[in-house]
């Protein structure tokens, strides 16, 4: 009887762990949540990408100090 209870308990434990692991791994990442079927993108994200498209007018090349 005791052996049966222990076996049942172990089985429940294993199944529970598998279920938790599966739920965690199949959860969409932050990126996927942003770019889901709705395709919603924030203004900040667009502005960030636009920063890389253009050259800033105070852009400069640094060679280091001469003194």
């Amino acid at each position: 009887m005791n052996k049966t209870i222990i076996a049942l308990f172990s089985l429940i434990l294993v199944l529970g762990s598998v279920f938790v692991l599966y739920s965690y791994l199949s959860q969409p990442t932050e990126t996927e949540q942003q770019y889901d079927g709705n395709g919603s993108v924030s203004d900040d994200e667009i502005l960030t990408e636009l920063d890389d498209v253009f050259v800033s007018e105070d852009d400069d090349i640094e060679l280091g100090d001469i003194v």
Binding site: Y35, G39, V41, I46, D51, V53
Partner: protein
């Protein structure tokens, strides 16, 4: 008794080995610092070469390099004048200054339209940094901290008409570059109104204002169109980053990144 002797002997041996390790550890610290500096330089250069695949991109970077080097040359000339006035021997500094002037002439000869312009830019920029560092170290070897501060004050505002001409040219090229980029974004959005382009080019609108107005245009699109627009510019940005990384990797592996850079 014998056990005590063995324990004390073994602790002596361990202490001695730790001492050797400490000496070995001190030596590579300086190499690590230089490696960090070089890595930062490479990362910055990699970002800078990204625009050189586009029209005006190579011209902008070469003009900026000339501008930065000329600024340092003017400051170096002023520094030498000040040090000569304080009766320091400046022959070594004058030698480095001559090399900087030669390097400037070399950069001016580079054709921005050449397929090797990226390679020349990377090499010549590296050489310019090396000469600047050599000059700075030679000055530091001559003078104390107080004189250094005094010298920095003297040379801070060194300028010339040529430098101002460079700044004007660079600003003009940057506006032309950005104007082209606005046109290409218009192509993705499907916009036709050219007032934004003209207002930016003639200085009525700043670049920041242009970006905000583009955001407004994009927000008037459907979600799918907005996402498609975002994906396209993000993809293009990533492609340029990868291409720049590959180019730097190629230059470094063929030993061209730190070469003489003569076109």
């Amino acid at each position: 008794m014998v056990l005590l002797l063995m324990v004390s002997l073994s602790s002596l041996v361990v202490a001695d080995e730790a001492g050797d390790d400490q000496e070995e550890d001190d030596a590579p610290v300086q190499d690590d610092e230089m490696q960090d500096v070089e890595e930062r330089e490479d990362n910055t250069t990699e970002k800078e070469i990204q625009i050189m695949a586009y029209p005006y991109g190579a011209e902008i970077r070469l003009l900026q390099l000339q501008n930065a080097l000329l600024k340092n040359i003017l400051r170096a000339e002023m520094a030498i004048d000040v040090l000569q006035g304080m009766e320091f021997t400046t022959s070594e500094l004058e030698g480095i200054l001559d090399q900087m002037n030669e390097l400037l002439e070399t950069i001016e000869e580079v054709d921005p339209a050449s397929t090797d312009s990226v390679q020349y830019f990377v090499e010549l920029k590296h050489e310019a940094i090396q000469l600047t560092t050599q000059f700075r170290e030679a000055v530091h070897a001559l003078i104390n901290e107080a004189t250094k501060q005094h010298l920095r004050e003297c040379i801070r505002n060194a300028t010339s008409d040529t430098l101002q001409n460079y700044s004007q040219m660079i600003q003009n090229r940057i506006r032309q570059f950005n104007r082209n980029r606005i046109h290409s974004l218009y192509g993705i959005i499907g916009a036709t109104n050219s007032s934004l382009v003209n207002d930016y080019f003639n200085g009525t609108l700043s670049l920041y204002q242009v970006k905000r107005k583009l955001c407004v245009m994009v927000n008037q699109m459907t979600q799918e169109q907005k996402y498609a627009f975002f994906s396209e510019i993000k993809e293009d940005n990533i492609r340029r980053q990868i291409h720049a990384q590959a180019t730097m990797g190629n230059l470094q592996s063929h030993g061209k990144g730190k070469g003489s850079g003569k076109p």
